[in-house]
Protein backbone atom coordinates (compact mmCIF):
# COMPACT_ATOMS: atom_id res chain seq x y z
CA UNK A 1 0.00 0.00 0.00
CA UNK A 2 1.30 3.46 -0.81
CA UNK A 3 1.78 5.95 1.98
CA UNK A 4 -1.16 8.01 0.80
CA UNK A 5 -3.50 5.05 0.54
CA UNK A 6 -2.50 4.06 4.03
CA UNK A 7 -3.46 7.46 5.35
CA UNK A 8 -6.67 8.03 3.49
CA UNK A 9 -7.90 4.47 3.12
CA UNK A 10 -11.33 4.31 1.57
CA UNK A 11 -11.73 8.10 1.61
CA UNK A 12 -10.07 8.39 -1.81
CA UNK A 13 -12.71 6.15 -3.28
CA UNK A 14 -15.43 8.17 -1.59
CA UNK A 15 -13.86 11.39 -2.79
CA UNK A 16 -13.75 10.33 -6.43
CA UNK A 17 -17.24 8.92 -6.18
CA UNK A 18 -18.87 12.26 -5.39
CA UNK A 19 -20.20 14.25 -8.32
CA UNK A 20 -18.30 17.41 -9.23
CA UNK A 21 -19.54 20.69 -7.78
CA UNK A 22 -19.41 24.25 -9.11
CA UNK A 23 -15.93 25.69 -9.53
CA UNK A 24 -15.31 27.41 -6.21
CA UNK A 25 -16.68 24.51 -4.21
CA UNK A 26 -14.76 21.96 -6.21
CA UNK A 27 -11.54 23.92 -5.70
CA UNK A 28 -12.11 23.98 -1.96
CA UNK A 29 -12.80 20.27 -1.93
CA UNK A 30 -9.72 19.33 -3.89
CA UNK A 31 -7.34 21.52 -1.91
CA UNK A 32 -8.81 20.15 1.32
CA UNK A 33 -8.57 16.55 0.22
CA UNK A 34 -4.96 17.09 -0.69
CA UNK A 35 -4.29 18.41 2.80
CA UNK A 36 -6.09 15.52 4.39
CA UNK A 37 -4.16 13.05 2.21
CA UNK A 38 -0.91 14.44 3.56
CA UNK A 39 -1.80 14.12 7.22
CA UNK A 40 -4.43 11.42 7.46
CA UNK A 41 -6.17 11.15 10.82
CA UNK A 42 -4.36 12.37 13.93
CA UNK A 43 -2.98 9.87 16.41
CA UNK A 44 -2.44 10.09 20.15
CA UNK A 45 1.14 11.14 19.36
CA UNK A 46 -0.25 14.50 18.26
CA UNK A 47 -0.34 16.77 21.30
CA UNK A 48 -3.83 18.01 20.42
CA UNK A 49 -5.14 14.46 20.34
CA UNK A 50 -3.19 12.91 23.19
CA UNK A 51 -6.22 11.78 25.15
CA UNK A 52 -8.57 11.07 22.29
CA UNK A 53 -7.91 8.08 20.16
CA UNK A 54 -9.70 8.35 16.83
CA UNK A 55 -8.43 5.00 15.52
CA UNK A 56 -11.97 3.53 15.66
CA UNK A 57 -13.02 6.23 13.20
CA UNK A 58 -9.88 5.94 11.06
CA UNK A 59 -9.96 2.21 10.56
CA UNK A 60 -13.55 1.94 9.45
CA UNK A 61 -14.41 2.36 5.75
CA UNK A 62 -17.25 4.85 5.88
CA UNK A 63 -19.72 5.53 3.10
CA UNK A 64 -20.22 9.28 2.77
CA UNK A 65 -23.84 10.31 3.16
CA UNK A 66 -25.69 13.51 2.35
CA UNK A 67 -25.79 15.80 5.40
CA UNK A 68 -29.13 16.08 7.13
CA UNK A 69 -29.85 19.69 6.16
CA UNK A 70 -31.34 20.42 2.78
CA UNK A 71 -29.32 22.15 0.13
CA UNK A 72 -29.49 25.91 0.41
CA UNK A 73 -28.67 28.89 -1.73
CA UNK A 74 -25.43 30.44 -0.59
CA UNK A 75 -26.87 33.93 -1.09
CA UNK A 76 -23.46 35.42 -1.75
CA UNK A 77 -21.86 33.74 1.27
CA UNK A 78 -19.84 31.24 -0.72
CA UNK A 79 -16.85 33.56 -0.73
CA UNK A 80 -16.68 33.34 3.07
CA UNK A 81 -16.95 29.58 3.22
CA UNK A 82 -13.92 27.73 4.59
CA UNK A 83 -12.14 30.96 5.46
CA UNK A 84 -12.19 30.56 9.22
CA UNK A 85 -12.10 26.95 10.37
CA UNK A 86 -8.49 25.82 10.78
CA UNK A 87 -7.62 23.79 7.70
CA UNK A 88 -4.69 22.31 9.58
CA UNK A 89 -7.17 20.22 11.52
CA UNK A 90 -7.50 16.97 9.52
CA UNK A 91 -11.19 16.68 10.38
CA UNK A 92 -11.85 20.16 9.03
CA UNK A 93 -9.96 19.24 5.86
CA UNK A 94 -11.98 16.05 5.52
CA UNK A 95 -15.25 17.91 6.01
CA UNK A 96 -14.24 20.49 3.42
CA UNK A 97 -13.29 17.75 0.96
CA UNK A 98 -16.88 16.56 1.08
CA UNK A 99 -18.67 19.93 1.04
CA UNK A 100 -22.11 19.53 -0.39
CA UNK A 101 -25.18 20.73 1.47
CA UNK A 102 -24.13 23.75 3.45
CA UNK A 103 -26.46 25.35 5.97
CA UNK A 104 -26.03 29.04 5.23
CA UNK A 105 -27.43 31.61 7.58
CA UNK A 106 -27.21 35.32 7.01
CA UNK A 107 -28.51 37.86 9.49
CA UNK A 108 -28.14 41.23 7.83
CA UNK A 109 -26.76 44.44 9.28
CA UNK A 110 -28.91 45.73 12.12
CA UNK A 111 -31.44 42.93 11.76
CA UNK A 112 -32.80 41.55 15.03
CA UNK A 113 -34.00 38.01 14.72
CA UNK A 114 -36.34 37.42 17.65
CA UNK A 115 -37.04 33.73 17.31
CA UNK A 116 -34.21 31.22 17.72
CA UNK A 117 -32.99 29.86 14.40
CA UNK A 118 -32.87 26.09 14.56
CA UNK A 119 -30.56 23.93 12.52
CA UNK A 120 -30.91 20.18 12.99
CA UNK A 121 -28.19 17.91 11.72
CA UNK A 122 -29.78 14.53 11.67
CA UNK A 123 -27.71 11.52 10.72
CA UNK A 124 -30.11 8.98 9.32
CA UNK A 125 -28.44 5.65 8.93
CA UNK A 126 -24.87 4.42 8.92
CA UNK A 127 -22.06 6.23 7.19
CA UNK A 128 -20.12 9.45 7.42
CA UNK A 129 -21.82 12.84 7.57
CA UNK A 130 -20.02 16.09 7.00
CA UNK A 131 -22.39 18.69 8.37
CA UNK A 132 -21.34 22.17 7.40
CA UNK A 133 -22.72 25.44 8.67
CA UNK A 134 -21.80 29.01 7.86
CA UNK A 135 -23.37 31.79 9.89
CA UNK A 136 -22.74 35.40 8.98
CA UNK A 137 -24.14 38.02 11.32
CA UNK A 138 -23.88 41.60 10.11
CA UNK A 139 -22.83 44.59 12.20
CA UNK A 140 -25.29 45.43 14.96
CA UNK A 141 -27.43 42.40 14.17
CA UNK A 142 -28.74 40.00 16.81
CA UNK A 143 -29.66 36.36 16.65
CA UNK A 144 -29.94 33.11 18.54
CA UNK A 145 -28.98 29.87 16.85
CA UNK A 146 -29.64 26.35 18.03
CA UNK A 147 -27.69 23.58 16.36
CA UNK A 148 -28.85 20.11 17.26
CA UNK A 149 -27.00 16.94 16.38
CA UNK A 150 -28.86 13.68 16.51
CA UNK A 151 -29.24 10.37 14.72
CA UNK A 152 -29.59 6.64 14.90
CA UNK A 153 -27.18 3.77 14.58
CA UNK A 154 -23.42 3.78 14.23
CA UNK A 155 -22.29 6.71 12.15
CA UNK A 156 -19.58 9.30 12.03
CA UNK A 157 -20.67 12.92 12.21
CA UNK A 158 -17.84 15.24 11.26
CA UNK A 159 -19.22 18.75 11.61
CA UNK A 160 -17.76 22.16 10.92
CA UNK A 161 -19.45 25.42 11.86
CA UNK A 162 -18.07 28.83 11.01
CA UNK A 163 -19.51 31.97 12.55
CA UNK A 164 -18.59 35.50 11.57
CA UNK A 165 -20.07 38.30 13.64
CA UNK A 166 -19.69 41.94 12.67
CA UNK A 167 -19.08 44.94 14.87
CA UNK A 168 -21.49 45.13 17.80
CA UNK A 169 -23.34 41.97 16.78
CA UNK A 170 -24.94 39.86 19.50
CA UNK A 171 -24.94 36.13 18.88
CA UNK A 172 -26.16 33.36 21.17
CA UNK A 173 -25.17 29.96 19.92
CA UNK A 174 -26.49 26.72 21.37
CA UNK A 175 -25.19 23.35 20.43
CA UNK A 176 -27.04 20.30 21.67
CA UNK A 177 -25.22 17.09 20.90
CA UNK A 178 -27.46 14.13 21.51
CA UNK A 179 -26.09 11.67 18.97
CA UNK A 180 -26.84 7.97 19.21
CA UNK A 181 -24.92 5.95 21.77
CA UNK A 182 -22.77 4.28 19.08
CA UNK A 183 -22.01 7.42 17.09
CA UNK A 184 -18.70 9.20 16.63
CA UNK A 185 -19.05 12.95 16.79
CA UNK A 186 -16.22 15.29 15.86
CA UNK A 187 -17.04 18.96 15.55
CA UNK A 188 -15.12 22.13 14.95
CA UNK A 189 -16.61 25.53 15.51
CA UNK A 190 -14.62 28.61 14.63
CA UNK A 191 -15.93 32.04 15.54
CA UNK A 192 -14.58 35.31 14.21
CA UNK A 193 -15.85 38.24 16.27
CA UNK A 194 -15.89 41.91 15.37
CA UNK A 195 -15.27 44.91 17.55
CA UNK A 196 -17.58 45.09 20.60
CA UNK A 197 -19.45 42.02 19.46
CA UNK A 198 -21.01 39.84 22.14
CA UNK A 199 -20.94 36.11 21.63
CA UNK A 200 -22.17 33.30 23.86
CA UNK A 201 -21.72 29.61 23.21
CA UNK A 202 -23.62 26.93 25.10
CA UNK A 203 -22.12 23.57 24.32
CA UNK A 204 -24.19 20.69 25.65
CA UNK A 205 -22.66 17.28 25.05
CA UNK A 206 -24.77 14.28 26.00
CA UNK A 207 -24.58 11.53 23.40
CA UNK A 208 -22.09 9.64 21.21
CA UNK A 209 -19.59 6.93 22.06
CA UNK A 210 -16.83 9.39 21.25
CA UNK A 211 -17.29 13.13 21.03
CA UNK A 212 -14.71 15.77 20.30
CA UNK A 213 -15.36 19.49 20.16
CA UNK A 214 -12.89 22.07 19.00
CA UNK A 215 -14.24 25.52 19.68
CA UNK A 216 -12.21 28.52 18.70
CA UNK A 217 -13.07 32.18 19.07
CA UNK A 218 -11.05 35.16 17.91
CA UNK A 219 -11.90 38.40 19.67
CA UNK A 220 -11.44 41.97 18.49
CA UNK A 221 -11.32 45.17 20.52
CA UNK A 222 -13.90 45.29 23.31
CA UNK A 223 -15.39 41.95 22.30
CA UNK A 224 -17.10 39.84 24.92
CA UNK A 225 -17.19 36.07 24.59
CA UNK A 226 -18.83 33.60 26.95
CA UNK A 227 -18.29 29.88 26.61
CA UNK A 228 -20.54 27.65 28.66
CA UNK A 229 -20.28 23.90 28.44
CA UNK A 230 -21.88 20.86 29.99
CA UNK A 231 -20.83 17.30 29.29
CA UNK A 232 -22.42 14.24 30.78
CA UNK A 233 -20.87 10.85 30.12
CA UNK A 234 -21.54 7.37 31.36
CA UNK A 235 -20.63 3.78 30.46
CA UNK A 236 -17.62 3.82 28.15
CA UNK A 237 -18.38 7.21 26.60
CA UNK A 238 -15.55 9.59 25.86
CA UNK A 239 -15.88 13.34 25.45
CA UNK A 240 -13.13 15.82 24.65
CA UNK A 241 -13.64 19.59 24.67
CA UNK A 242 -10.82 21.68 23.33
CA UNK A 243 -11.54 25.38 23.47
CA UNK A 244 -9.37 28.22 22.32
CA UNK A 245 -10.08 31.87 23.05
CA UNK A 246 -7.83 34.23 21.19
CA UNK A 247 -7.69 37.77 22.53
CA UNK A 248 -6.20 39.53 19.57
CA UNK A 249 -7.04 43.13 20.51
CA UNK A 250 -7.33 45.20 23.73
CA UNK A 251 -10.26 45.36 26.15
CA UNK A 252 -11.66 41.95 25.36
CA UNK A 253 -13.54 39.93 27.97
CA UNK A 254 -14.01 36.19 28.06
CA UNK A 255 -15.80 34.00 30.56
CA UNK A 256 -15.64 30.29 30.28
CA UNK A 257 -17.44 27.77 32.46
CA UNK A 258 -17.36 24.09 31.58
CA UNK A 259 -18.93 21.50 33.82
CA UNK A 260 -18.72 17.75 33.47
CA UNK A 261 -20.47 14.81 35.08
CA UNK A 262 -18.75 11.46 34.69
CA UNK A 263 -20.04 8.07 35.68
CA UNK A 264 -19.20 4.43 34.89
CA UNK A 265 -15.93 4.02 33.00
CA UNK A 266 -16.42 7.22 31.06
CA UNK A 267 -13.52 9.50 30.22
CA UNK A 268 -13.46 13.21 29.57
CA UNK A 269 -10.93 15.79 28.48
CA UNK A 270 -11.04 19.53 28.93
CA UNK A 271 -8.34 21.63 27.37
CA UNK A 272 -8.87 25.35 27.62
CA UNK A 273 -6.47 27.52 25.71
CA UNK A 274 -6.45 31.26 26.30
CA UNK A 275 -4.24 33.37 24.10
CA UNK A 276 -3.66 37.01 24.96
CA UNK A 277 -1.67 38.62 22.19
CA UNK A 278 0.84 41.37 22.79
CA UNK A 279 -1.61 43.93 21.53
CA UNK A 280 -4.47 42.75 23.75
CA UNK A 281 -3.90 44.92 26.84
CA UNK A 282 -6.71 45.17 29.42
CA UNK A 283 -7.94 41.72 28.59
CA UNK A 284 -10.16 40.21 31.27
CA UNK A 285 -10.46 36.47 31.08
CA UNK A 286 -11.82 33.88 33.42
CA UNK A 287 -11.87 30.13 32.90
CA UNK A 288 -13.43 27.51 35.14
CA UNK A 289 -13.75 23.77 34.66
CA UNK A 290 -15.61 21.75 37.27
CA UNK A 291 -16.03 18.03 37.23
CA UNK A 292 -18.23 15.76 39.25
CA UNK A 293 -16.94 12.22 39.19
CA UNK A 294 -19.53 9.71 40.36
CA UNK A 295 -17.57 6.48 40.02
CA UNK A 296 -14.08 5.25 40.82
CA UNK A 297 -13.38 4.26 37.25
CA UNK A 298 -14.26 7.45 35.40
CA UNK A 299 -11.31 9.61 34.43
CA UNK A 300 -11.03 13.31 33.62
CA UNK A 301 -8.02 15.11 32.21
CA UNK A 302 -8.31 18.85 32.57
CA UNK A 303 -5.74 21.37 31.52
CA UNK A 304 -5.65 25.12 31.13
CA UNK A 305 -3.29 26.39 28.48
CA UNK A 306 -2.51 30.05 28.94
CA UNK A 307 -0.41 31.88 26.40
CA UNK A 308 -0.13 35.45 27.57
CA UNK A 309 1.98 37.96 25.69
CA UNK A 310 0.51 41.20 27.07
CA UNK A 311 1.34 42.51 30.54
CA UNK A 312 -1.68 44.52 31.64
CA UNK A 313 -4.28 41.76 31.76
CA UNK A 314 -6.37 39.84 34.22
CA UNK A 315 -6.58 36.12 33.60
CA UNK A 316 -7.82 33.61 36.10
CA UNK A 317 -8.40 29.93 35.70
CA UNK A 318 -9.31 27.03 37.90
CA UNK A 319 -10.28 23.42 37.63
CA UNK A 320 -11.89 21.13 40.16
CA UNK A 321 -12.54 17.43 40.25
CA UNK A 322 -14.80 16.26 43.02
CA UNK A 323 -17.25 13.70 44.26
CA UNK A 324 -20.67 14.33 45.69
CA UNK A 325 -20.36 16.16 48.96
CA UNK A 326 -20.84 13.74 51.88
CA UNK A 327 -22.26 16.43 54.14
CA UNK A 328 -24.86 17.49 51.59
CA UNK A 329 -25.84 13.87 51.07
CA UNK A 330 -26.26 13.38 54.79
CA UNK A 331 -28.30 16.55 55.09
CA UNK A 332 -30.76 15.36 52.45
CA UNK A 333 -30.91 11.87 53.95
CA UNK A 334 -31.50 13.30 57.40
CA UNK A 335 -34.69 14.81 55.97
CA UNK A 336 -35.94 11.42 54.84
CA UNK A 337 -34.75 11.50 51.23
CA UNK A 338 -33.31 8.12 50.21
CA UNK A 339 -29.65 7.80 49.36
CA UNK A 340 -30.00 7.23 45.65
CA UNK A 341 -32.55 10.02 45.31
CA UNK A 342 -30.24 12.29 47.27
CA UNK A 343 -27.35 11.45 44.94
CA UNK A 344 -29.53 12.14 41.92
CA UNK A 345 -30.69 15.42 43.33
CA UNK A 346 -27.15 16.64 44.02
CA UNK A 347 -25.95 15.53 40.61
CA UNK A 348 -28.78 17.40 38.97
CA UNK A 349 -27.99 20.40 41.14
CA UNK A 350 -24.39 20.38 39.94
CA UNK A 351 -25.54 20.98 36.37
CA UNK A 352 -28.25 23.43 37.32
CA UNK A 353 -26.28 26.64 36.84
CA UNK A 354 -25.45 25.73 33.25
CA UNK A 355 -29.13 25.00 32.60
CA UNK A 356 -29.98 28.36 34.19
CA UNK A 357 -27.83 30.16 31.64
CA UNK A 358 -29.96 28.89 28.80
CA UNK A 359 -32.20 31.73 27.72
CA UNK A 360 -34.58 29.80 25.47
CA UNK A 361 -37.33 28.51 27.79
CA UNK A 362 -38.24 25.47 25.66
CA UNK A 363 -34.60 24.42 25.39
CA UNK A 364 -34.02 24.94 29.10
CA UNK A 365 -37.08 22.83 29.85
CA UNK A 366 -36.00 20.04 27.57
CA UNK A 367 -32.50 20.02 29.01
CA UNK A 368 -33.95 19.89 32.50
CA UNK A 369 -36.15 17.01 31.44
CA UNK A 370 -33.12 15.17 30.11
CA UNK A 371 -31.23 15.83 33.34
CA UNK A 372 -34.16 14.66 35.40
CA UNK A 373 -34.41 11.49 33.34
CA UNK A 374 -30.73 10.85 33.74
CA UNK A 375 -30.32 11.62 37.42
CA UNK A 376 -33.52 12.23 39.07
CA UNK A 377 -35.97 9.41 38.64
CA UNK A 378 -36.22 8.42 42.29
CA UNK A 379 -36.24 11.83 43.93
CA UNK A 380 -39.93 12.13 44.69
Amino acid sequence: MSAVAEKVGSWLEEFTRQPKAEDRLQELREAAFERFSKTGFPTTHDEEWRFTNVAPIARKPWRVQEPGVRSQESGGLLAQLAKYAPQTNPFVALNTAFLSNVAYLHVRRGEVSEEPIEITHRASGDGAFHARTLIVVGPGAQCTIVETYEGEGQYFQNAVTEIVAGEGAVVDHYKVQRESAEAFHVATMQVQLGRSANFTSHNISLGAALARNDIGAVLAEGTEATLNGLYIVNGTQHVDNHTSIDHAKPHGTSHELYKGILDGKATAVFNGRIIVRQDAQKTDSKQTNKNLVLSDEAVIDTKPELQIFADDVRCTHGATIGQLDAESLFYLQSRGIGKSAARSLLTYAFAQDIADRIKIPSLKDSLERILIEKFHEHAC
Binding site: Q333, S334, G338, A349, F350
Partner: protein, 258 residues
Protein backbone atom coordinates in the same frame (compact mmCIF):
# COMPACT_ATOMS: atom_id res chain seq x y z
CA UNK B 1 -41.97 3.17 77.49
CA UNK B 2 -39.15 5.53 76.72
CA UNK B 3 -39.06 6.97 73.22
CA UNK B 4 -35.28 7.02 73.23
CA UNK B 5 -32.95 4.98 75.33
CA UNK B 6 -29.20 5.42 75.00
CA UNK B 7 -27.09 2.89 76.86
CA UNK B 8 -23.32 3.19 77.32
CA UNK B 9 -22.83 4.69 73.88
CA UNK B 10 -19.27 4.93 72.60
CA UNK B 11 -18.30 6.55 69.32
CA UNK B 12 -15.07 7.39 67.56
CA UNK B 13 -13.98 9.53 64.68
CA UNK B 14 -10.84 8.22 63.04
CA UNK B 15 -9.16 6.44 65.91
CA UNK B 16 -10.15 9.03 68.48
CA UNK B 17 -12.89 8.25 70.96
CA UNK B 18 -15.34 11.15 71.30
CA UNK B 19 -18.28 9.60 73.11
CA UNK B 20 -17.08 7.59 76.07
CA UNK B 21 -20.19 5.96 77.46
CA UNK B 22 -23.42 7.98 77.28
CA UNK B 23 -26.57 6.92 79.10
CA UNK B 24 -29.73 8.89 78.50
CA UNK B 25 -33.43 8.10 78.57
CA UNK B 26 -35.96 10.40 76.93
CA UNK B 27 -39.64 9.72 77.43
CA UNK B 28 -42.41 10.90 75.15
CA UNK B 29 -43.21 14.57 75.66
CA UNK B 30 -39.99 15.37 77.53
CA UNK B 31 -37.54 18.12 76.69
CA UNK B 32 -33.92 17.46 77.62
CA UNK B 33 -31.27 20.13 77.41
CA UNK B 34 -27.65 19.16 76.89
CA UNK B 35 -24.97 21.68 77.76
CA UNK B 36 -21.22 21.37 77.90
CA UNK B 37 -17.94 22.93 76.83
CA UNK B 38 -16.78 23.23 73.24
CA UNK B 39 -15.54 19.95 71.88
CA UNK B 40 -17.15 17.85 74.58
CA UNK B 41 -19.09 15.75 72.03
CA UNK B 42 -22.56 17.33 71.90
CA UNK B 43 -22.73 17.53 68.11
CA UNK B 44 -21.17 14.11 67.81
CA UNK B 45 -23.99 12.67 69.91
CA UNK B 46 -26.58 14.51 67.83
CA UNK B 47 -25.06 13.34 64.53
CA UNK B 48 -24.70 9.76 65.73
CA UNK B 49 -28.38 9.72 66.60
CA UNK B 50 -29.23 11.02 63.13
CA UNK B 51 -27.02 8.39 61.50
CA UNK B 52 -23.98 10.25 60.18
CA UNK B 53 -21.55 7.52 59.08
CA UNK B 54 -18.51 9.69 59.70
CA UNK B 55 -18.72 8.51 63.29
CA UNK B 56 -18.23 4.88 64.25
CA UNK B 57 -20.27 3.52 67.08
CA UNK B 58 -17.89 1.26 68.94
CA UNK B 59 -20.06 0.26 71.85
CA UNK B 60 -23.43 0.53 73.50
CA UNK B 61 -26.98 0.60 72.28
CA UNK B 62 -29.64 3.03 71.19
CA UNK B 63 -33.29 2.04 71.29
CA UNK B 64 -35.86 4.23 69.58
CA UNK B 65 -39.42 3.24 70.23
CA UNK B 66 -38.02 0.01 71.59
CA UNK B 67 -36.16 -0.86 68.37
CA UNK B 68 -32.48 -0.75 67.47
CA UNK B 69 -31.90 2.70 66.02
CA UNK B 70 -28.30 2.19 65.01
CA UNK B 71 -29.05 -0.30 62.29
CA UNK B 72 -31.21 2.18 60.37
CA UNK B 73 -30.00 4.42 57.54
CA UNK B 74 -30.32 8.16 58.14
CA UNK B 75 -33.32 8.42 55.82
CA UNK B 76 -35.09 5.58 57.64
CA UNK B 77 -34.56 7.35 60.94
CA UNK B 78 -36.04 10.52 59.48
CA UNK B 79 -38.95 8.56 58.08
CA UNK B 80 -39.57 7.16 61.55
CA UNK B 81 -39.67 10.60 63.06
CA UNK B 82 -36.16 11.68 63.99
CA UNK B 83 -35.19 15.21 63.06
CA UNK B 84 -31.83 16.90 63.55
CA UNK B 85 -31.58 20.67 63.37
CA UNK B 86 -27.95 21.07 62.34
CA UNK B 87 -25.51 23.26 64.20
CA UNK B 88 -24.17 24.17 60.76
CA UNK B 89 -26.96 23.75 58.20
CA UNK B 90 -25.55 22.67 54.85
CA UNK B 91 -25.77 24.88 51.78
CA UNK B 92 -26.96 23.06 48.69
CA UNK B 93 -26.72 25.25 45.61
CA UNK B 94 -28.90 24.15 42.73
CA UNK B 95 -31.67 22.56 44.81
CA UNK B 96 -34.55 24.86 45.68
CA UNK B 97 -35.79 24.93 49.23
CA UNK B 98 -39.31 24.24 48.03
CA UNK B 99 -38.36 21.25 45.91
CA UNK B 100 -36.20 19.85 48.68
CA UNK B 101 -38.85 20.12 51.33
CA UNK B 102 -41.56 18.68 49.12
CA UNK B 103 -39.36 15.69 48.28
CA UNK B 104 -38.60 15.24 51.98
CA UNK B 105 -42.18 15.52 53.19
CA UNK B 106 -43.61 13.28 50.50
CA UNK B 107 -40.95 10.62 50.97
CA UNK B 108 -41.69 10.60 54.69
CA UNK B 109 -45.46 10.48 54.09
CA UNK B 110 -45.08 7.68 51.59
CA UNK B 111 -42.99 5.65 54.00
CA UNK B 112 -45.83 5.95 56.51
CA UNK B 113 -48.41 4.84 54.00
CA UNK B 114 -49.91 8.32 53.76
CA UNK B 115 -50.87 9.99 50.50
CA UNK B 116 -48.42 12.46 49.01
CA UNK B 117 -49.46 16.09 49.23
CA UNK B 118 -50.24 17.74 45.93
CA UNK B 119 -48.68 21.07 45.01
CA UNK B 120 -51.59 23.12 46.35
CA UNK B 121 -51.87 21.41 49.74
CA UNK B 122 -48.13 21.46 50.11
CA UNK B 123 -47.95 25.17 49.40
CA UNK B 124 -50.68 25.91 51.91
CA UNK B 125 -48.88 23.92 54.58
CA UNK B 126 -45.60 25.60 53.82
CA UNK B 127 -47.14 29.08 53.92
CA UNK B 128 -48.65 28.40 57.32
CA UNK B 129 -45.35 27.18 58.76
CA UNK B 130 -43.41 30.04 57.21
CA UNK B 131 -45.60 32.59 58.86
CA UNK B 132 -45.04 30.76 62.15
CA UNK B 133 -41.32 31.40 61.69
CA UNK B 134 -41.89 34.85 60.18
CA UNK B 135 -39.88 33.81 57.16
CA UNK B 136 -39.86 35.54 53.82
CA UNK B 137 -41.59 33.37 51.22
CA UNK B 138 -38.94 34.37 48.69
CA UNK B 139 -36.63 31.99 50.55
CA UNK B 140 -38.66 29.08 49.18
CA UNK B 141 -37.40 29.54 45.68
CA UNK B 142 -33.82 30.04 46.71
CA UNK B 143 -31.41 27.12 46.86
CA UNK B 144 -31.32 25.32 50.21
CA UNK B 145 -29.48 27.55 52.71
CA UNK B 146 -27.29 29.02 49.97
CA UNK B 147 -26.49 32.62 50.79
CA UNK B 148 -28.80 32.55 53.82
CA UNK B 149 -27.65 34.57 56.81
CA UNK B 150 -26.76 32.61 59.93
CA UNK B 151 -30.13 33.46 61.49
CA UNK B 152 -32.05 32.54 58.33
CA UNK B 153 -30.36 29.15 58.28
CA UNK B 154 -31.36 28.43 61.87
CA UNK B 155 -34.92 29.55 61.26
CA UNK B 156 -35.01 27.40 58.15
CA UNK B 157 -34.11 24.37 60.26
CA UNK B 158 -37.01 24.97 62.63
CA UNK B 159 -39.29 25.70 59.69
CA UNK B 160 -38.36 22.30 58.20
CA UNK B 161 -39.02 20.70 61.55
CA UNK B 162 -42.45 22.34 61.68
CA UNK B 163 -43.28 20.94 58.24
CA UNK B 164 -41.94 17.44 58.90
CA UNK B 165 -43.44 17.14 62.41
CA UNK B 166 -40.97 14.69 63.92
CA UNK B 167 -41.45 12.62 67.07
CA UNK B 168 -37.93 13.23 68.30
CA UNK B 169 -36.32 16.57 67.49
CA UNK B 170 -32.65 17.12 68.21
CA UNK B 171 -31.72 20.79 68.09
CA UNK B 172 -27.99 21.38 67.92
CA UNK B 173 -27.24 24.95 68.99
CA UNK B 174 -30.17 26.34 67.10
CA UNK B 175 -29.87 29.44 69.27
CA UNK B 176 -26.24 30.23 68.51
CA UNK B 177 -25.77 33.46 66.63
CA UNK B 178 -29.39 34.55 66.94
CA UNK B 179 -30.38 37.99 68.13
CA UNK B 180 -33.06 38.13 70.78
CA UNK B 181 -35.94 38.57 68.33
CA UNK B 182 -34.86 35.65 66.20
CA UNK B 183 -34.30 33.60 69.33
CA UNK B 184 -37.87 34.27 70.46
CA UNK B 185 -39.16 33.24 67.05
CA UNK B 186 -37.21 30.01 67.11
CA UNK B 187 -38.38 29.29 70.65
CA UNK B 188 -41.95 30.06 69.67
CA UNK B 189 -41.65 27.67 66.71
CA UNK B 190 -40.27 24.97 68.98
CA UNK B 191 -42.87 25.53 71.70
CA UNK B 192 -45.69 25.32 69.17
CA UNK B 193 -44.49 21.82 68.41
CA UNK B 194 -44.25 20.71 72.01
CA UNK B 195 -46.75 17.99 72.69
CA UNK B 196 -47.15 14.93 74.90
CA UNK B 197 -46.08 12.70 72.00
CA UNK B 198 -43.10 14.71 70.87
CA UNK B 199 -39.73 14.68 72.58
CA UNK B 200 -36.81 17.05 72.19
CA UNK B 201 -33.12 17.14 72.87
CA UNK B 202 -31.91 20.71 72.91
CA UNK B 203 -28.17 21.29 72.73
CA UNK B 204 -27.18 24.77 73.82
CA UNK B 205 -24.46 26.81 75.44
CA UNK B 206 -26.82 29.36 76.87
CA UNK B 207 -29.34 29.51 79.64
CA UNK B 208 -30.99 32.29 77.60
CA UNK B 209 -32.69 29.80 75.26
CA UNK B 210 -33.92 27.74 78.18
CA UNK B 211 -35.87 30.75 79.47
CA UNK B 212 -38.05 30.31 76.42
CA UNK B 213 -37.85 26.57 75.88
CA UNK B 214 -38.15 25.34 79.43
CA UNK B 215 -36.58 21.89 79.70
CA UNK B 216 -37.67 19.04 81.93
CA UNK B 217 -34.07 17.93 82.40
CA UNK B 218 -30.64 19.46 81.95
CA UNK B 219 -27.51 17.37 81.39
CA UNK B 220 -23.90 18.37 81.27
CA UNK B 221 -21.72 16.64 78.71
CA UNK B 222 -17.99 16.84 79.34
CA UNK B 223 -15.27 14.90 77.58
CA UNK B 224 -17.69 12.41 76.06
CA UNK B 225 -19.67 11.64 79.21
CA UNK B 226 -22.80 13.02 80.85
CA UNK B 227 -21.25 14.16 84.10
CA UNK B 228 -24.22 15.78 85.73
CA UNK B 229 -27.99 15.80 85.32
CA UNK B 230 -30.67 17.81 87.00
CA UNK B 231 -33.77 19.90 86.53
CA UNK B 232 -33.96 23.29 84.86
CA UNK B 233 -32.16 24.89 87.85
CA UNK B 234 -28.93 23.21 86.75
CA UNK B 235 -28.77 25.51 83.73
CA UNK B 236 -29.05 28.55 86.00
CA UNK B 237 -26.32 27.17 88.24
CA UNK B 238 -24.05 26.73 85.23
CA UNK B 239 -24.81 30.24 84.08
CA UNK B 240 -23.56 31.57 87.38
CA UNK B 241 -20.54 29.47 88.18
CA UNK B 242 -19.63 28.10 84.75
CA UNK B 243 -18.39 24.62 84.11
CA UNK B 244 -15.43 25.25 86.37
CA UNK B 245 -17.88 25.18 89.25
CA UNK B 246 -18.39 21.53 88.37
CA UNK B 247 -14.65 20.97 88.08
CA UNK B 248 -14.85 20.89 84.28
CA UNK B 249 -12.48 22.80 82.07
CA UNK B 250 -12.56 23.54 78.37
CA UNK B 251 -10.10 21.41 76.47
CA UNK B 252 -7.99 24.42 75.59
CA UNK B 253 -7.94 25.60 79.20
CA UNK B 254 -7.07 22.13 80.40
CA UNK B 255 -4.13 22.08 78.03
CA UNK B 256 -3.08 25.48 79.35
CA UNK B 257 -3.08 24.19 82.93
CA UNK B 258 -1.17 21.03 82.16
Amino acid sequence: MALLEIRDLHATVGNREILKGIDLTVKAGEVHAIMGPNGSGKSTLAQVLAGRDLYNVTGGQVLYDGKDLLELDPEERAQQGIFLAFQYPVEIPGVSNLYFLKAALNTIRKSRGEAELDAMDFLNLVREKMSLMDMDQALLNRPVNAGFSGGEKKRNEIFQMAVLEPRLAILDETDSGLDIDALKLVAHGVNTLRSPERSMIVVTHYQRLLNYIVPDFVHVLADGRLVKSGGKELALELEESGYAGLGIYDEEEAVGKA
